[in-house]
Amino acid sequence: MSFRELSAWVMGVLLCVTGADYLKTYLAAAQADGGAPPPLELFMPYAGVVVVASIIAQIVLAALAPKDADRPPDERERPLLWRAGHWAGLVQGGLCVAAVLYVGHSGNSAILFHLVVGGLIVSQIVEYALQIVFLRAGA
């Protein structure tokens, strides 16, 4: 497994775990408050955990393979990573538009933040998944 694929696995799993935790926290708080979207402050620790865990994961990966971590994507990897980012961007855009349409339809603007953050998490997971698929298919 290449360094780039390993990195995508680690970051993908990290986002799946933290994203699931975000969803769990949201659902628990919304249920406790009669279905109303919970306040944003409740999710501040989430952002901190994601950033710190990502930094730690990248440090560990770089320590395991310092040469590979230092090497920029080569001519084969660049278009594959670009293609993964392209599709993830479309997913994110689509989910954001869907979120805005939902808010416009339901009139529940408090949920917009959570829908956009959810879309961002999903699109990042899609990007890492596509990186793995494309890197494997192209090798």
Binding site: S2, F3, D68, D74, E75, R76, E77, A139
Partner: protein
């Protein structure tokens, strides 16, 4: 991979590696500035390298580009 269409560009990179003191894929990758996975993909015929990389490989083995790479209609 099943269903992968073979590329028309053939290569003898693995053979030249062997002739070059059984050079490893990792060593070749490092010498020409790509990942080991890219060397694997080139040798398997799954990826056609850029002209620059093809020249780097040929120069490393001290042969012409057409000695390493060929064209085969499929």
């Amino acid at each position: 991979m099943i269903g992968r269409k073979p590329l028309p560009i053939t290569n003898r990179v693995a053979a030249y590696r062997e002739r070059h003191g059984a050079m490893s894929q990792a060593a070749l990758a490092e010498a020409i500035g790509v990942s080991r996975q890219t060397v694997v993909a080139i040798e398997k015929g799954h990826y056609s390298p850029s002209l620059e990389t093809a020249f780097r490989i040929a120069r490393l083995f001290e042969v012409g580009v057409e000695d390493v790479f060929g064209w085969e209609e499929r």
